[in-house]
């Protein structure tokens, strides 16, 4: 039975912390909240370590822990990112628009497009059916496009390719 190997755990943390923090940032729109969510997710990975190693599912365990931590720390996203008073750049606009989407849609968009997870893997992380992931992703893309348009960024690339891909 796998035991908690602190050295391997620290290696895992070092190898995954930045990627997890970036995922959390895209889900929350706030680097500080993202850091807190990542720290919490990594503690949960430590607790689940033997089970996750046995199942060969450390990466899935880390993503599940992160999704749960984000849902607890920032279920509604962040209304006012730290750079709200700075001139808008494309990336700020997208993060702000993402933060306004429902949590389930944000999770699907970030895991599918940023983390490049397949439908099955995304469903395993979120604990739902693949059909549900497909539906949430499609709804999320439509909502994101609507949100960008509402903010006056009609000229931003509107993901037509992605919309076709998830239908």
């Amino acid at each position: 039975m796998p035991v908690r190997d602190d050295a391997r755990y620290v290696e895992f943390v070092a190898a995954n912390q930045q990627r997890l923090r970036r995922i959390a940032y895209l889900m929350t729109g706030d680097w500080q909240v993202a850091a807190a969510a990542t720290q919490e997710a990594l503690v949960r990975v430590y607790v689940e370590w033997p089970r996750a190693v046995r199942a060969g599912a450390l990466a899935t365990c880390a993503r599940q822990s992160l999704v749960a931590a984000v849902a607890e720390l920032a279920p509604a996203g962040t209304a006012a990112p730290a750079w709200a008073d700075e001139p808008d750049t494309d990336r700020q606009v997208v993060v702000r628009a993402l933060a306004r989407l429902p949590l389930e849609q944000r999770q699907c968009l970030v895991l599918r497009f940023y983390d490049s997870l397949a439908l099955d893997d995304c469903a395993a992380v979120l604990g739902c059916e693949t059909a549900e992931v497909r539906a949430r992703t499609a709804e999320g893309l439509v909502a994101l496009r609507r949100e960008l348009s509402r903010q006056g960024f009609d000229d931003m690339p509107l993901f037509s390719q992605q919309l076709e891909g998830v239908r």
Binding site: D6, L26, W31, V47, A82, R91, Q162, G165
Partner: protein, 61 residues
């Protein structure tokens, strides 16, 4: 690379360096593991006591 992924990659560029606190992670992780083990042991002990009490009650009938 899809357009949306490209924008997300750019958007997720950190504002500053950050590293998880390994010592805090290990400390808190060990604390939660101990707490979980204690909860399991407590539940097991409670079940044992309950089973013994039931056995005594049945035997004394």
């Amino acid at each position: 690379m899809s357009e949306l992924r490209e924008i997300m990659l750019d958007a997720a560029t950190p504002d500053r360096d950050w590293l998880a606190d390994h010592h805090a992670l290990l400390h808190e992780g060990r604390r939660r593991v101990r707490r979980r083990r204690l909860a399991i042991a407590t539940a097991a002990a409670a079940a044992t006591v309950l089973a013994a009490a039931l056995a005594v009650a049945v035997a004394s009938r």
